[in-house]
Amino acid sequence: MNDHPSSKKTDVAPALPYRLAVGRTIPHDSAVGHVTGTALYIDDLPRREDELLVGFVGSPIASGTLDSIDCTAAEKIPGVVCILTVADVGPHNLFGPLFADEPFLANQQLLYVGQPVVIVAAESAAALHQACRLIKIQATESEPVFSIETAIAGQHFIGPRRQIRRGNPDQAIRFATHRLSGEFRSGGQEQFYLESQSAIAYPSEENQLVIHSSTQNTTEVQTMVAEVLGLSLHQVVCICKRMGGAFGGKETQAVIPALMVALVARRTGRAARIVYDKDQDMRVTGKRHPYLCRWEVGFEPDGVINTMKCDFFSDGGAAADLSTSVMERTLLHADNSYYIEHVEFNGQVCKTNYPPNTAFRGFGGPQAIAATENIIQRIAESLSMDALDVRLRNLYGTVDRNITPYGQLFSGNHLPKILTTLEQTSDYRRRRQQLVGRNAEDAFHLHGLALTPVKFGISFTSKFLNQANALVNVYTDGTVQVSTGGTEMGQGLNTKIRQLVADEFGIPYPAVILMATSTEKNNNTSPTAASAGTDLNGAAAVAACRVIRDRLSELAADVFSARELGFIPSSEHIVFANGLVRDSRQPDTGMPFAELTRRARLERIDLGARGFYKTPGVDFNRETGRGNPFLYFTQGAAVAEVCVDRFTGEMTVPRVDLLMDIGVSINPGIDRGQIIGGFIQGLGWVTTECLVYDSAGRLLSHSPTTYKIPGITDLPIDFRCDLFPNDDNTHCIGRSKAVGEPPLMLATAVWAAVKDALHQLAQDNENAGDVNLSLPATGEEILRCLTQSRVDQPPFL
């Protein structure tokens, strides 16, 4: 971009008109920093001379009471500056995003292995590690709760049981021609952001604290630090420049590390930094909730489901965190893409002795959708139908059969078109036909194929979170700084907002910069979550731009007015485009945007503004399970083909076809990245990512050596990803659609294809019962099912 607006060109017509930024594939705004290693993350920030390194010692047991803490040896280590326990915290040790039920530092009760008990601050890493090793925690164990079943038996619950219900499911299921029931399990998932939890606190005047945090939620960190430390909100600033990944894992869980450095900084008056190592991070932070779903379905011979009943139980871990909201989203997505007349979805969060589980891309949606797609596969198996036909029979309609179980009209339904398009482009039917033959001929592998849809509701289900503010500062060289409460975790939020703002002022994209997120500029913000980052913060930024543009338009109207030619000042005719401001009635006049901003200052016109946006028309009553929780739905579908080794259970995914509806894309390159990245993350959830604990509740899979996220060779060799074009999402900024979470659930197709492959084996064997494939479908789980379906029959056929 040579035509920088600060260049002193006075040509009215630039040589090359600026292209609109919105809709273009523009690289991530930090991409140059990423590839050169100059983009800074928390641990890269230069150390201040007085800075302390902070670490902690966690509970040695999963459940019990704290008897004593012996720090005498640790205190003697040279370089150790302070050692803090709950006694140093003050009266507000409990915190939490929904209920204040989570202790910051353990007080008597020990709730999970690794729960922070003692904070150590030292002048060197060596001293810190040595001190941590020398701290002795004595505790008395009590009976832990390590499974959802145990929690249910003992009524160890968090929050009330919630329900979404329609029709008369109890009666209707009795009249259904066919009934099936069962249990379905899905496992937890580690977010595995590459930058571990980290924070730095700088003490400041008047008891103020400045916290740099790798957080999706600057306001949450600010609020929790203020509450726990007994400060007022105006004494705490939280800043987040960027995160090295988050995926939900830094929506609430960035709070504990921030609290630790804040407490140390307050106690010592020195800067304090904490950076979890990967093992520690994985051991002590919450993950995607494991689920148990007890289900019952009634359906007709043509595959139409008339009743579906699901009891969802999630493993919430030892404190509420966001678990009840996650469960709420589960209940709101158990219909997935299907109209079901009689419905009862119940949800209960269980309390166990694991770290409090938390947000992770999809936020309860994946567990619901996987459970429902398992039911669909089971119906297809029992009717010997193609599962796609079962899906098509039950798909939401566009003119009728389009009310969700919670009462919201599903408008903008593209699913029928998406599914039929993908069915054709993926050659689904022909490949389906070939499958039986291929499986009969292949002595070594079983092949499976599945197409699954996704419908994902966009908006926070807590109404008050659906708001955002933005600060836009225009400078007199025509450049613009934008600050919002949205945080950049790699998803490209800042890039998209730059594009939106550049177009509002008709200036080139490089003339806009997104500033670090800070509570100093943007107060009372919502987490960057629920896929709604651009929807909310982009709209707020545009609102701020319009305020400034209106002021500038009035000035420009005066400047361009020519009464002698009959042009009275008319701000309605002022156009911001191609780096120029013009009066559309006089095509030959115009002024560079920079020149207008300089004049505006001389004319004492305010070149800064705050914008505010709140999502219209959304609300949900969680007591009744009714309402209009979502502004719109992002939709899509995937076809996956899998190949399973008959002897070892090892599985590969030779081909995947994705078709995703994202409205009018603000940045197709970024959106494609979200779709493919989300899908592959989902692929990990449904296949290789397996959390393993020992009998004492210690996580054994606590590093990439033992916890396997997808690697580059797990990307299907034949991988096709298309966008489904449409422009009817008038609700959202630029008719775009949120894209962060929905693609993750496309990976359900891979799991369903494994289930299909296993069924191909089982259906030849009369003695084989249902292969109750759990999620993730690891090689071990697949081999278990293979072995089970081969009982009493010649193997490997």
Binding site: T25, G37, D44, E650, G677, V692, K708, F796
Partner: protein, 493 residues
């Protein structure tokens, strides 16, 4: 005797001594040089975020460095004497020329253009690993990019855009590192020092000091070992580095083999492959592609390129893990190990070397020098199996080597070794003796499986449950049957 490590980093010379020599390379870069582009995520060589290019003088004596990507988090500074290290900061323009607007390399530019970065934390590691791949393969195809980047984890992109970026690089010229950093002057400075013995102590106080001794010859090694029998030998450090980082192991005296040229090299004759103990897995990968396709398959999923570039066969053998990828193969080939101490030399059969969990027949003062792998006879049918949760860059849940020497359908001799089913890699004597003299049929192999499970003692751990491993122990025998007797495949019956 030199008490410093000499190396170049991004074209600049460094002398590293004292405690700095014991830092991991990534800590040295980030803490001492403030080169924070190199990221640390796992500290165990599994994610590749810390990848740097390590250039070593070409063995041919040409005035060039040979660059390979390595994981800097599990490499120690004392292992880098005579190297030129290039970090991500060293790629953007040449820092020898004060260039304030760094000119991006092709890899960097296409990673930007193709949306190869999202959160950016893994990106420096990818950029370095991709640059490294292009150093040795100027036109990588899709498959090469996939194989070449198994050592780098990305949680955001799903990798597709990274492969696209790589493919874009193929059609462009890019400056090779030897052009970006002319090697001649660096080598001129380093060459005269390459034969020095190095001895560095971390501290002046001998009671707390760590010692590293880095010799050049086997004689120097064995002499030092005789005096210091507790010295910890270190070659690739791909396991030692992890143990060090996780606070599990901190030897007082280190003996670095990285400069002992006699331990490198692989020699092939009609009867055997004879490998120096320091031959890396990359050396084996190249060598076995044609000669031993079965072993090549296992080697190619051994760790990642970053690990294979430095990890040695000797290290894998001495580490004595029951899940070592190479062992079942070496067991069924009946490989032999050569040990040299100051006073003696002996040959040990690999099948006799392991006594229990991490227990080996290694005598004080002995150095593993060579591994002899007999070439299998024509009538041997060999299959190697590695079952892991993820195909690449994973540790095995179960490994097996099955070798049957056949005369027609008659099994003349059977050699079966399983890993991850006991405290050490096991030869299944009873199964082997059952198979000897039998006809190779599905039923024979099924019966063999029933015997095999009585010979193993797997445990339930993070990589799998007992019943899973038991089932695999049976199934691989059947898989062997079907793979080697395709004409008898079930559908044809």
């Amino acid at each position: 005797m030199r008490n410093q490590v000499l190396l170049f980093i991004n074209g600049n010379p460094y002398r590293v001594s004292g405690e700095d020599a014991f830092l991991t390379v990534s800590d040295f870069l980030r803490q001492r040089l403030k080169l924070c582009g190199t990221k640390i995520v796992c500290s165990e060589g599994d994610c590749g975020s810390c990848s740097v290019l390590c250039g070593r003088a070409s063995p041919t004596g040409s005035n060039e460095f040979h660059y390979l990507p390595i994981d800097s988090c599990i490499r120690f500074m004392f292992q880098l004497d005579g190297c030129h290290l290039v970090t991500v900061e060293g790629l953007a323009g040449n820092p020898l020329v004060a260039d304030r607007n760094p000119k991006l390399t092709d890899v960097q530019q296409f990673m930007i253009d193709c949306h190869g970065s999202q959160c950016g934390f893994c990106t420096p590691g990818f950029v370095v690993a991709m640059t490294g791949l292009l150093e040795t393969n100027p036109r990588p195809a899709v498959a090469d990019w996939r194989r070449g980047l198994t050592g780098n984890l990305c949680r955001c992109t799903g990798y597709d855009s990274i492969i696209q970026a790589g493919l874009q690089c193929n059609s462009h010229n890019r400056p090779p590192i030897n052009e970006l950093y002319p090697a001649a002057s660096m080598l001129a400075c380093l060459r005269p020092t390459l034969d020095d013995e190095i001895l560095i102590q971390s501290n002046d106080d001998p009671s707390v000091a760590l010692t590293i001794y880095s010799p050049n010859t086997i004689d120097q090694v064995t002499a030092f070992l005789a005096e210091n029998p507790t010295a910890k030998l270190v070659a690739g450090a791909t396991d030692l580095g992890v143990q060090f980082n996780k606070g599990l192991y901190q030897p007082k005296i280190w003996l670095d083999l990285n400069r002992v040229g006699e331990l490198t090299g692989i020699e092939i004759n009609e009867r055997a492959i004879i490998a120096g103990a320091r031959a890396t897995w990359t050396d084996f990968e190249t060598l076995t592609q044609q000669r031993m396709p079965q072993f090549h398959q296992i080697v190619s999923v051994f760790g990642s390129p970053q690990i294979r570039h430095v990890g040695t066969i000797g290290g894998n053998l001495i580490n004595a893990s029951p899940i070592a990828d190479s062992l079942p193969f070496l067991f069924v080939c009946e490989g032999e190990l050569e040990f040299i101490s100051r006073a003696s030399r002996r040959i040990v059969k690999i099948n006799d070397f392991y006594h229990g969990y991490k227990q080996v027949d290694l005598r004080p003062g002995e150095l593993l020098t060579r591994i002899i792998i007999p070439v299998l006879p024509q009538q041997s049918e060999l299959r190697l199996y590695k079952v892991s949760r993820r195909k690449d860059m994973d540790i095995a849940s179960f490994t097996a080597a099955i070798r049957l020497d056949l005369e027609g359908a008659m099994i003349k001799a059977a050699f079966i070794a399983y890993g991850a089913v006991g405290p050490r890699v096991l030869r299944l004597a009873a199964t082997e003796s059952f198979l000897r003299g039998q006809l190779l049929t599905e039923e024979t192999m099924r019966q063999a499986g029933e015997i095999a499970v009585t010979e193993i003692t797997p445990i339930t751990d993070v990589r799998g449950r007992v019943d899973y491993r038991m089932q695999l122990a049976k199934n691989v025998l059947l898989k062997f049957y079907f793979e080697t007797r395709k004409e008898l495949s079930p559908s044809a019956r």
